[in-house]
């Protein structure tokens, strides 16, 4: 079943601290009054310009296993190759904050008000990233398909995490197979020949539901050595895995 979800902008307000972190301000640094004014203006501008929307469609693990290889450009093994066999449910997803705010960012960055553009870009990036998480929450709710109210296998809380092409061994070209199946043009998200999404502040991938154990993996893939963020560890922690969850 497919679901299109319109997120009210007032529910899509970016976390101010998270935006400042995206702008490089350390946690232990107090922003100046001028920075806070720019941030407030960016949050206000975003709420006026953005139209957050997402969609998801449940597919079988088998179908996802056919979609994942894409055009054969993935790493020899991807994180999803380990995670998917343990998944309870899987859904393709896409989401965007809309083209008007993206166009406004480009306009600001190109002109004398570039700082405002950078701040608005950080707000939009933060909200876009959180859209994937919010779709994950909706998928876990199971209000349409199941009466379990967010419970997964054996009654354990359903843990849903998004995984996106371009990360963890899944090549960006994997979006082609994903888009061919999901057809997110329905919510205004398209893919160009270089596998760039339009609007630029969009996100796509697969939602994987399972237990905390479903999402645990040892980050010892060859590509892990080149990863600068290691946010897989935080992600595993977020579903109840703990800091060294992958070791258990």
């Amino acid at each position: 079943m497919r679901r299109v979800i319109v997120f009210p902008v007032e529910e899509s307000r970016a976390d101010s601290d998270a935006v400042l972190r995206r702008l490089g301000l350390p946690e232990d640094r107090e922003p100046s009054e001028r920075v806070l004014r720019l941030l407030d203006a960016a949050l206000e501008c975003f709420s006026e310009q953005a139209s957050p929307i997402g969609m998801l469609e449940e597919v079988s693990r088998e179908e996802m296993a056919r979609i994942l290889p894409g055009h054969g450009q993935n790493e020899a093994q991807t994180v999803l190759d380990r995670v998917l066999p343990r998944a309870d449910r899987v859904a393709l997803f896409a989401a965007t904050v809309g083209e008007p705010v993206c166009a406004h960012i480009r306009h600001l960055v190109a002109g004398p008000e570039a700082p405002a553009g950078f701040f608005l870009d950080a707000v939009a990036s933060e909200v876009t990233a959180r859209l994937a998480d919010r779709l994950a929450e909706r998928f876990a709710e199971r209000d349409v398909w199941h009466p379990d109210g967010g419970r997964g296998r054996d009654g354990e809380p359903a843990r849903v995490l998004p995984y996106s092409p371009g990360y963890c061994g899944w090549h960006t070209s994997g979006q082609r197979a994903l888009f061919a199946r999901l057809q997110p043009a329905e919510i205004g998200v398209t893919l160009n020949a270089s596998c760039l999404m339009a609007p630029i502040k969009s996100v796509s991938g697969v939602l994987v539901e399972g237990t905390a154990q479903t999402h645990r993996f040892r980050p010892d893939f060859p590509f892990c050595a080149r990863c600068a963020t290691r946010d897989c560890l935080d992600r595993m922690r977020s579903v109840g895995g703990g800091g060294d969850a992958w070791k258990s």
Binding site: A114, P115, T172, N192
Partner: protein, 212 residues
């Protein structure tokens, strides 16, 4: 306070309106456009770049300073064009083919302009040949490339290969940066330089331009 020192301080503090006014005041007082640019605007931005490098200030402060610089430059620009003031060099910037991320590249552009370089920004999803064509067309000494995905950074190798094919390696130098890029990767693909962040990019570009 001497007027150009005041102007530099206003740029450092991100005071765009004051920087604009003081730029005009300095010109009215008889200072040349080149003096105002180098001893006022760029001097202030140089301090900002150094403090950013030392992690004393952060991106929001740099952006505000850049806005103040831009405000002063808007007053100076017509005079600079007429005076034939040479730039520190010309750089072509872009995000490689298949990649859409540009915030890091945009910041590098801002800091390079703040350091007196002319920047030709090709945007995102730039094909390898386009980097080289633009460098040739604009007489750029340096091509700067950005990527944010491990899957797209290989586009940087294509640009370097294109330079070699066209006999331009060594005449046009390359610098690479972005989250999935590290010194090892830069060496592996034959880049001339690697920048850990926007602040170090300026230093590296200066060094590349200074090479014979």
């Amino acid at each position: 306070m001497e007027i150009l020192t005041r102007l530099a301080t206003e740029v450092e503090a991100g005071e765009a309106d004051l920087a604009r006014a003081t730029t005009g005041e300095a010109l009215t007082a008889g200072r040349s456009a080149e003096e105002v640019l180098k001893q006022g605007l760029l001097a202030g931005m140089a301090v900002v770049g150094e403090r950013f490098r030392r992690r004393e200030i952060f991106l929001p402060d740099v952006l505000l300073a850049a806005r103040a610089l831009h405000a002063g430059l808007a007053v100076l620009q017509p005079l600079l064009e007429g005076a034939g003031v040479p730039s520190a060099g010309r750089v072509v910037l872009g995000t490689v083919q298949g990649d859409l991320h540009d915030i890091g590249k945009n910041l590098v552009g801002i800091l390079l302009r703040g350091a007196g370089f002319e920047v030709v920004d090709l945007g995102t999803d730039v094909a390898a040949e386009r980097f080289v064509d633009a460098a040739v067309e604009h007489g750029a000494r340096v091509i700067g490339m950005s990527a944010l995905l491990t899957t797209t950074r290989l586009g940087m190798r294509d640009v370097i290969a294109a330079l070699r094919t066209r006999g331009l390696a060594g005449k046009i130098r390359t610098i690479v940066g972005g989250a999935p890029v590290d010194p090892g990767f830069a060496r592996e693909i034959g880049a001339d330089a690697y920048a850990f962040d926007a602040a170090s990019a300026v230093d590296e570009v200066r060094a590349l331009v200074a090479r014979p």
